[in-house]
Symmetry: C2
């Protein structure tokens, strides 16, 4: 079984790679090669140096021949330009998110068309396919049956890919599965250009002793998932059998990963509880209309029945998310005063 | 005001051109040039020889420079590959319906980006953006708030364009409006490769003395609109002011054109009523699973409140649709025995 991950040296990609390298199987079958493709690679990282791993370095469209040099059984397509990037540079987003995905889908289709295996394509979409606007508010509780009307170019681009994947799957070109990611927090490392990046930053930066800006009003509610739950969800959707009943992937719809709904104020209160007043005081609230327009258009409350049928549950609390972060990244915290 | 119609020598395009050439205005302003673009043109037709008209002949992507040789104020984008074509030839559909539209949108965007007028882009979409499947049936009554999950490549491609247009509009690149067309009947002329083509053929062919095949079970219900109502609807959506209240185009959603819901059996009964038993007897019912899969996945019953707010009403009956056809195309009927 040859498994490919795009965006493999990104935060989620490398966690997914690490998870697959622990079991070295997919649906119980041995993984013979794990291909890690990315524009930016870390050749010395533990996942890159594993003997099972091949690294493909560069733009996916240009490196397509390497990715499909041998038949691809499973393709996790995580590579993407992020939300604020796509809002700032429309053409970059269209190329990175739409054209690249379409090129991958056509390569997968070409493989099955000549008698090769029908690849299982697992696409990381986003809650940004939903969008609330004054003229068209979202329902109070959002599910996969809710209308998708994105209010960002990023969300639009993800939605286009979802529909392409649905059509390629319906036609039998490939076996596509779509996991809609919630906002993943707490992300380690440096801030990225995602409009939602601050939802990690307002915890990560103060814990490391650095100031952070919160660009939305604290009463904004958001839908979060920890990195652990997110990778678990992607993998579960990838491995599920299609069909009707518990544990199976039913029908043509994407799956919204389960969400923990919290307000930004509750997040800050949790930070205060875990790390104390001085650390929490490093956060300055300074609403930015551009960020509020994107993040505020996303739904915060989900009916996650479809994910639950696959055995997926949300994080239990933001406190548990922060504790996960502290456990996974002890080096990222220089002022840890966790009283728990 | 320079107005462009793509697919202008198609059935709806030429009717729209004819309508615009009668008033020679758009929103009360004089039309200075009317550009009729199509892959196949009829240079001797009355619309083509009008002094106001420029004809652009060829593939749209290749003729883009001619279309945008002068600033475009209004672009009616009707050119498309039709449903059965797209199901038979996936790449043709992607190119004709997605790539061509994207190229046009980018040209419109480039025009406004350099300080030219922001083009009004009116896109003919389709009820095929909705799709019913056993795992995901449509609601009993469909509106613009209903989930769009197409079950054909044609519907997928139309939906992709809708979302691109929504994003280009949100960003201010252009002023996009989307009219979702119902099945247009009765179309004159020769059968085309639309899966819904038989819904015209089962009336048009017998009236001309020719046999016709009905490839669906007669209890199938369909959503129809006459050519008159369809062109009227496209033009109304194009001319409407944006805003809240009667007569205005509110919010970012497309507009479903109003539909007359009838069963195929009722259509055949109307044919019998209008033209007699012998003519109606020219229709043979022979269900074709490929056609039923496409047409049967489309919704038949709509809540058309959004269209009604723009003053648009459905045809009153299939009898009135047939009478329109007889009035507009007297030459197409060789056995007319209309008792009305």
């Amino acid at each position: 079984m040859r498994v490919v991950i795009t965006g493999a040296f990104g935060f989620l990609g490398s966690r997914l790679a690490d998870t697959l390298l622990r079991t070295r199987t997919f649906r119980g079958a041995p993984i013979t090669r794990l291909v890690l493709a990315d524009r930016v690679v870390r050749p010395d990282s533990p996942v890159a140096t594993d003997p099972l791993v091949d690294v493909v370095h560069g733009d996916l469209i240009e490196r397509l021949d390497e990715v499909f040099a041998e038949p691809v059984d499973v393709l996790f397509h995580l590579a993407a330009a992020v939300s604020a990037e796509c809002e700032a540079d429309f053409d970059l987003g269209m190329r990175a998110n739409v054209d690249t995905t379409r090129t991958l889908l056509d390569a997968a289709r070409a493989q099955s068309a000549v008698g090769g295996p029908t690849p299982r394509v697992v696409f990381a979409s986003s809650l940004a396919v939903y969008g609330s606007s004054p003229e068209l508010p979202l329902p109070a509780v959002v599910s996969e049956s809710s209308l998708t009307m994105p209010r960002s170019s990023y969300g639009t681009q993800k939605l286009l890919c979802e529909h392409l994947i649905a059509d390629y799957t319906r036609r039998g070109f490939l076996d596509g599965r779509v996991a809609r990611l919630m906002t993943v927090a707490v992300r380690p490392g440096r801030p990225n250009a995602a409009a939602s990046g601050f939802l990690s930053g307002i915890v990560r930066e103060p814990l490391s002793g650095a100031p952070a800006t919160c660009p939305v009003r604290p009463d904004l509610h958001v839908a979060l998932a920890s990195p652990r739950r997110t990778v678990q969800g992607i993998l579960r959707i990838a491995e599920a059998e299609r069909g009707v009943g518990p544990g199976r992937l039913e029908g043509p719809l994407p799956v919204n990963l389960p969400a923990l709904t919290v307000s930004v104020a509750e997040m800050l209160a949790t930070l205060r509880q875990v790390a104390g007043e001085a650390v929490a005081g490093l956060v300055t609230v300074a609403p930015d209309p551009a960020v509020e327009a994107i993040v505020g258009s996303w739904p915060a409350v989900f009916d996650s029945g479809r994910a639950a049928a696959l055995g997926l549950e949300p994080d239990s609390s933001f406190l548990s998310i922060v504790r996960d972060y502290l456990a996974d990244h002890p080096d990222a915290v220089i002022r840890r005063t966790d009283s728990s």
